[in-house]
Symmetry: D2
Subunit: 442 residues, 4 copies
């Protein structure tokens, strides 16, 4: 957790309008209660963290609980909401859109909901994409489909133009569904709104298939990602055992963080090696990957390797980096490099191998959400709407310690979440694969 | 959380043997560390809980962290482990068996692992089932299959006979995979072992598809359960829309707790009503279920109802209760009752309906684990083995606040976990279905 | 094949309008050609059949080939088509609807296509269902969903009223998607149209999940049915092996014909017994089913039984038969009978069994079509449109000897197609299950 | 059909031993009958074909019906069978292996069944792979898995060495599961056996995921292939609609024949273009592919393209061809070429596109068989065993006009089966995609 412990959420103005949701504040009556400002969730769940606070006489870092508030800021009959989806596909986007629309329409009675087409491009006056009004009927079945019904795009647009656009279209709430870059963009939009003193809320819903948004337990689509990868790996194992010294390489998403690769490897214990961006490793030498792979082939005559797209980037010659329209560093293809180098290595030792390289990235990104993710998307969307209607801004909804909370956007884009190589999760990956602990760069 | 705040775990004896796992206690070196007794997890993550402790000058309730210990109790080369699976099927049992065997064999070098056939029956000298020795080869592919490779049975056997059996077969570790009844049985076995002063560890791995084991975040198989139910509900919706005033009733597992039904309903937002055991409801009257259903049919001419098997038991005439071999109360079939009563009600109002009743229980119970559950099963099993080897006994492994912990068996069988009707999860179910908040018993 | 060998198709009038489809009659240019009346398919593919024709100096029975004709009867710009779906759900109905709409709209330029809601009920003036105009946009995604977007109903309506309705709505083509009863209804509508000398074509698209329409190779949805059943049976096997003397009974569709049950049994060779309506069998006695089951349990301690819903009806006491709204005889539940009687039988012999009964019928009926069925549905629909536009009437499209043909409705509703117990397919089922050939009624 | 109309099958010797299968030759008793030599199936099912025979006074081309014979050649108790699987993976290989073993063991009582490891390599004395004896227990669950439990390899071994190996291991029956190259190899083995006058039968089971074996209706694995491709294409459509002018290219198997690509396109009607090897096409010019694609993008702003791996090979610069170990011409990657050239084309016209390229080949090849293919594999294997036991050799089992028949290997390897561009199937693909008929090379 960063040093700056202020996790309070900004508001557009005072929430004075009674919520149209019929809840109460009574305890013990089996009915959900409005959330109050004092409802907060500890960030650190260890006894050690508790004791440190005690010793230092410090208040613990804690986060605002998400949920419906008794008083809201936006008068529903006059309110217009907009939804924009940015960046690469991720399972569950349509589930989020659907539940935003349903919650805005049915819980709060908001009748004008605008779908921004093709990401931030749709907020630019220079694009020709036309806005579409969203109704419950239009979104009723979209949760069955992967992708995003609104379309997406990568990259930024001039902030000032986008805020002009919001003003011109009388948009009061902007829900931005996207990853690191999108959230930074949303924050910049929020800053510009603040500067212009407009009563417009900006709400982020973190979307990163890589699960690399900081501070939150998980992001939507991530579970579906490794759930979709699992049978592909199971069958990649068939390719490996189908040939003498068969080697299957499956490349999965994970630019900076190997959560999908490691989760898929633990889920499907036919995986013998999992290579992630967090782990520097050598190809050659006694502790290198190839030596470990050789031992595996000698023992069993086949091997399955799962590699995150961002792993092993140190193995490429240093040249100038390429970035995509979203500003993400474009990685060289570690899967192809491994395929070539493994063949070269074993050929040089006169060991025959048959190597198959499988890259299911788009198949995974475009899949519909599984049931866990659907539940998660719906709850996220409901909370986003409740927080937005209360007049909060520049926040994301997320789950922390199994509780839905609000987090300032600025906090979650500070850095990427990564696998802790000294943590239980990575240890589980090592236990599951049986790959040597020592396969680290000397 | 119960009043008794002592969550310490019993041990068989002092752990003095160095662990064969090559970890260390150094910080900052990207290598997992042995877990120490001081590593504990808070049970309550709210700020309010923290402040209450502060005000009352009380230590917070906290739980022993699971993971490998630097010193173990059992000398691997002399140790025999046994695995028993009890009660109804649940996705993931084979994953747990596989990972127990792999962890015992590869992490600790235990060479004798015994599979107890057909549940506690297999521990009874009067059954003719023969024990089977388990090897990594034998369990290598079982994670692909639902069910349990060991077979199962319901119900208890004389504790004394079962402990005789453990002694006679020189079993040092007994891993019992099962639900409430199984865990109570495991605890009773542990008590008898204690009485006889035997150095045998008993470890529970909570298996309840209903997710109703108290105190823990979730039990394995639960996510797969509603993941498997989701497409069935999606298609039940086709049955509902396929006829004028079509009504589909899907009965899901959930004897005392409606987690599967509610999760499936949130995952698949075509569900219009979810009925759970925690919620008393009337069929008739202005706030009754039938009035709400009638409004729905008038509006849309179809409806999807998900009902947990234990819901609405108050609607049956009071007669003597029937219990199954595990001591669980056998529920009367609420799905069939609803089907009959709905038809009767609408017929009496001359409203034509077409009602389809779907009971996918065995289809769900016998399915293989999805990827999330596979990951969860593997980590649970690894932690069970680490805790067992450290000489701990009469504990279960579970996840609390996203951390793997040890919990005394006695604590988790105290009561069933239920949906909090005043909590966020149930509110999400109400928001997703749109069913009236007021549909509660007058 | 029935004695009446006249398989010519009736027409409404002379087809004089040039087809808007740009094909030709040239051979050898890699472009599909219009189908001519002389293009016919043999019904019997055996050499014996050929020789019999030769010896008797008879023309072989042959069927009109389906496909686009050079001249059509209906002038597209003035033509209105209607689609009705009747009877129980079956995978692929939406695929057929979609392809009918697309073919009518894009191939022939028909702009008015009417969806009849809720089966023949929607053709009755006394129902309040309103017709819906169908456009390509409306049907664009429906192939992803099981069920029927038009709704369905069982049972007949007065033929005269339905023809009034067609006249009043200026409908020129009626596509009726349904089973035996629906097709008989369509034929009656066709007869009434003929009597009134109206230029309205009636086209049947055989829909029977049971695959029991006579003369045709297969009906759509059938392959999806046993494809959907297969994993359910695989997991039912887990239930069987999960208990000592575990017996799983899976009831599948098949009122008069056991094609689904037998296909599912061959597809999933864990099935030990398959019971179909075509096969009379005894429960008791040395050649009875229970004796065979007992031998199986003694050998392996578990068994999987697949039973078609119409099997074993002779085992029920003779009482007055119940028929449903479509006129189908309602079967008593053979699955429940088997469950009860098996328990009784083995209890009486003091053999403990655990019996699980699984009825996935609605789950299978409401599933979306698999890829083979999707291809089949699309081709069927295209052929239905081509035949209809050519002015043919009272015919169904079907596949015979892998070729799409037209068949008079009257021919295919003459009797149900059944498994030939002396044929290769049933022999495959016997070979796959290993059940005794002799398990037939004495 | 080739000119040589002799489709008789060679035999090793006279079948004199009574079959152990308890069938009879009685008609009308609901029991399957032994197949006789006179049971034959017409190759041509058109009336035109029939009439041509009549006019020319010619016997029609017909094929030997497969099935158990009353007299067999091999004495079961002395017989050894061997199974070898060659070439690339294809869904269903394990189903075939399983059913061969079950049929040999249970139907005929053959106790020695040898699995040849890693394809024809395993028949070479220079490889170190060791033979494995196969039992029913060993193969019991393999149908659940894709791949081949025996392993495979590409390429030939010296025929003489392989026949030595058969002799040395006293193998009487060799079942060779493989494609064109494998079958040619099997035939060469059969020729060498004939030369040495050995009583060894060689039986081919055609395995080609591309469905390109001549004369037969379909090959196993093909239906699973496009069934597995279908959801990938469905989701590729999400990638296409997820971006402005999004273009998804899915490359599917199909070296010489586009059956998988075209079937998948018909199954999943979001496909706008399907490109197959049988169809020469231009990229540029008014009838070129790019002009058609441009029109599509102008209309809908997204497009989905399915391309068979062997399509468009004429677009590559002529260089020396590369062949793989099986002698198949290695194709240059048409998917990558399209991706690059499409981008180049639209960039040059200042039209922004987002292109995603998906190659799921290994994912499809290694998948388990779906239910239709499982049924097909089992029946094929049973027929292979029956034919083999009768002493037939150098034949394949296949389905022709829905009947299982024997075909001389030499006949089916004569040429590859291809899509008939003037046939109904390709016309269905054109109708489904809506791609211009005229998109052919000028």
């Amino acid at each position: 957790m960063a040093k700056d412990n202020n996790f309070n959420i900004q508001t557009i103005g005072t929430a004075t309008i009674p919520s149209p949701i019929h809840l109460d504040q009574m305890t013990g009556d089996s009915i959900y209660k409005f959330i109050e400002e004092k409802d907060r969730i500890l960030s650190d769940v260890t006894l050690q963290g508790f004791n440190t606070c005690l010793q230092n006489n410090e208040a613990p870092v804690c986060l605002e609980k998400a949920g419906p508030r008794e008083r809201i800021f936006f008068r529903p009959e006059n309110t217009t909401a907009a939804i924009v989806t940015c960046g690469g596909l991720c399972p569950g986007i349509n589930n989020v859109i659907r539940s935003l629309v349903m919650a805005l329409h049915y819980f709060y009675g908001i009748k004008r909901i605008i779908g921004i087409p093709f990401g931030y491009e749709g907020l630019s006056p220079t694009s020709n994409h036309s806005l579409k009004e969203l109704t419950p009927d239009m979104v009723n079945d979209i949760h069955e489909f992967g992708g995003t019904m609104l379309g997406s795009s990568r990259g930024a647009q001039p902030v000032s133009e986008m805020v002009d656009m919001l003003e011109n279209n009388k948009i009061d709430l902007l829900f931005a569904i996207g990853g690191d870059g999108t959230l930074k963009g949303a924050n910049a939009i929020g800053d510009e709104i603040e500067k212009r003193q407009l009563p417009i809320s900006v709400i982020g819903i973190p979307k990163t298939i890589d699960n690399d948004i900081d501070l939150i337990d998980k992001s939507f689509g991530f579970e579906t990602a490794f759930d979709t990868a699992a049978p592909i790996i199971r069958d990649a194992h068939n390719e490996a055992t189908g040939a003498y010294n068969g080697v299957s390489i499956v490349k999965l998403m994970g630019r900076d963080s190997g959560f999908i690769a490691a989760s898929a490897a633990i889920a499907m214990p036919v995986v013998n090696f999992v290579l992630v961006p967090e782990m520097a490793f050598d190809l050659y030498g006694p502790n290198g990957f190839f030596e470990a792979l050789k031992k595996r082939l000698e023992l069993k005559n086949h091997a399955v390797i799962v590699v995150a797209e961002g792993a092993g980037q140190h193995l490429f010659e240093k040249e100038k980096q390429i970035t995509d329209a979203s500003g993400n560093v474009q990685h060289r293809d570690i899967g192809l490099l491994l395929k070539d180098k493994i063949k070269e290595y074993f050929d040089s030792q006169s060991i025959k191998t048959t190597i198959k390289y499988i890259d299911p990235s788009y198949i995974i990104r475009s899949a519909p959400a599984n049931a866990s993710d659907s539940v998660f998307c719906n709850r996220l969307a409901y909370h986003a709407v409740h927080g937005a209607m209360a007049g909060k801004t520049k926040f994301v909804v997320g789950m922390v310690n199994n509780q839905f909370v609000h987090l300032p956007i600025s906090k979650v884009v500070h850095q990427r979440k990564k696998i802790d190589l000294a943590g239980e999760f990575w240890f589980a990956a090592l236990q599951s694969t049986g790959q040597p602990f020592s396969m680290v760069q000397s």
